[in-house]
């Protein structure tokens, strides 16, 4: 098993793994976007900045308080999620009656503010964040070496996506959420506090982004631009998958990550644009997206 299609096996599997990792982040971020959009009808343009904030909070917890990776995995989503709740209460909630695009413009502006402030404070160059001691090293899988941390990221991302799916599809609060997505006025009439649910949904979606940010911190360098460039790709992922189904976002996220990884092997020059090309093809053939409802 040295060569597959004339490509050295380690290179192929290495890129596939990298694709899976990127796919994990696409899945986590597009999932958060989809949950927020379903409930609030707002496309959260701040999502990238919140992902980046997650990584920075993890870095700050370690540098200033000496709290390591495991604490960051718990605390960073809570801290950034709380920021999200504040944002929803003070600003986003004022726009529900207006054209949905105003929500996009507002969150874009907030993203610029956050990114600019972080860049002022920490500069544009990346900050290092070490892989926690428990997850260092790599496994020998026979055909390739697999860094343990990368395997961990893929597994945790899948677990987080499954957990989100379970909460939304199988719990009582999830059923309220789905009902409120369908018809908020009716759900409110049944005595459920819909504005509170919207706030918490936004907070949860933001927390998911921050969680992804902490996962990303040891892989990518922690820098102010890490979210902005990613979020545009995630938008394309969302367009391809359609925001109708949770499972759809997850499958599309991982699938596109793998396609991107394979493109890096077979046609490196096209790897940066392949997801956008896939988006264009999907729009031409299935405008509602692969899993979307028209």
């Amino acid at each position: 098993m040295d060569e597959i299609f004339g490509i050295p096996a380690p290179l192929l599997f290495g890129q596939l793994l990298l694709g899976l990792i990127n796919g994990a982040f696409y899945a986590l971020l597009s999932l958060g976007l989809a949950v927020i959009f379903g409930m609030l009808n707002v496309i959260n343009f701040t999502h990238g900045a919140q992902f980046m904030l997650g990584a920075f909070v993890a870095w700050a917890l370690l540098s200033f308080l000496g709290l390591g990776y495991w604490w960051a995995l718990l605390l960073a989503p809570l801290i950034v999620g709380a920021f999200g709740v504040l944002l929803e209460r003070t600003m986003i909630s004022r726009l529900y009656k207006l054209d949905h695009l105003y929500g996009l413009l507002l969150t874009f502006g907030v993203g610029l503010i956050v990114e600019g402030l972080v860049r002022n404070e920490f500069g544009s160059s990346g900050l290092p964040y070490r892989i926690p001691a428990e997850l260092q090293g790599s496994w020998d899988l026979g055909f390739m070496f697999m860094p343990i941390y990368r395997g961990w990221v893929v597994v945790v991302a899948i677990v987080a996506c499954l957990a989100t799916w379970l909460v939304i599809e199988k719990t009582k609060i999830g059923s309220y959420l789905r009902a409120a997505t369908e018809n908020p006025a009716l759900v409110q009439a049944f005595g459920i506090n819909v504005p509170l649910m919207m706030t918490l949904t936004y907070g949860a979606g933001v927390a998911l982004a921050a969680f992804a940010g902490v996962l990303a911190a040891p892989i990518y360098s922690v820098n102010p631009q890490m979210g902005a460039n990613l979020i545009i790709i995630v938008f394309a992922v969302v367009v391809i998958g359609g925001m109708g189904s949770i499972l759809g976002s997850v499958v599309t996220g991982f699938g596109l990550g793998i396609i991107e990884g394979l493109t890096k092997v077979f046609w490196p020059e096209a790897s940066a644009t392949v997801i956008f090309v896939v988006m264009a093809i999907v729009l031409l053939t299935r405008p509602a997206g692969l899993f979307g409802r028209a």
Partner: protein, 328 residues
Amino acid sequence: MAAPGGFGGTDFKHEDEVVLGFTKSQLLAFGVMVAFFVVAPFFLYPVFLMKVLCFALFACAFNLLIGYVGLLSFGHAAYFGMGGYLAGHAAKVWGFTPEIAILIGGAVGGLLGLVFGWIAIRRQGIYFAMITLALAQMVYFFCLQAPFTGGEDGIQAIPRGSLFGAIPLGNDMAMYWTTAGVFLIGFLLIHRIVHSPFGMVLKSIRENEPRATSLGYRTDDYKLMAFVLSATLAGVAGGTKSIVFGIATLTDVFWTMSGEVVLMSLVGGLGTIFGPVVGAAVIITMQNYLAEFGAWVTVIQGAIFVLCVLAFRRGIVGEIGNWLRVRL
């Protein structure tokens, strides 16, 4: 009246259109604008004014889509930037005169707009914004790798050349009048489009697309046509900018540029004819004065976005119009 919370400007009591579809108040505002651009180069730095003019045309082109069709394109940097690259390439490598180079820039913007518009109008609202942004990012990556764009360096030392092969534009004043001419033609063209029967159909699509469809209009064709016109003018603006400054770089195709043109239109007033011009002047002036503060420019731009969306949705010109009860 525009739909509450929509993007169109507010219409007040009917004012008769006096000349060229301008109402009296618009004619007055137009006179003020032209007078300003005639007098300004004697008081202000012409290169700064040329930058304002290029971005004003860019913002007007963007506003044609959002203000009159209700389409938020978040990827207008693609047409602006590609127009700039091709105009620069045409002037520098192919040796065309500046007016031909600028027209090539416009043609490239329009062609790109035709393809991207054709793809993007399949979805509406938020999806449309995300699709245009993603397609523009694809153009950015293309420009990063394509040999003729010069990658990170961009195309440098683009010659200004001679207008029609006769009037050398090396002199800033000659270049200024040319730029002002390009802007004015673009501005009047947009005004004409908006006030034509075609423009009326666009506005009806903005207000109520299903109803426009039921009246027998192929709304997708109208939207695509508006998209192509807007992208063409954005390409012209980008082309003019690279001729003026002699440089075309990746900054002009990056998503931040798409955000900036949205901001300019928003600050000036979406769906007003003069708003994008005022917005461009305000934002470029701000960037000029704050250039030394680095990332604070980003923070302030973000803050203006938030402020405009939350408290100031009519924009500067929209507020003035609302105060005077006239449509500007």
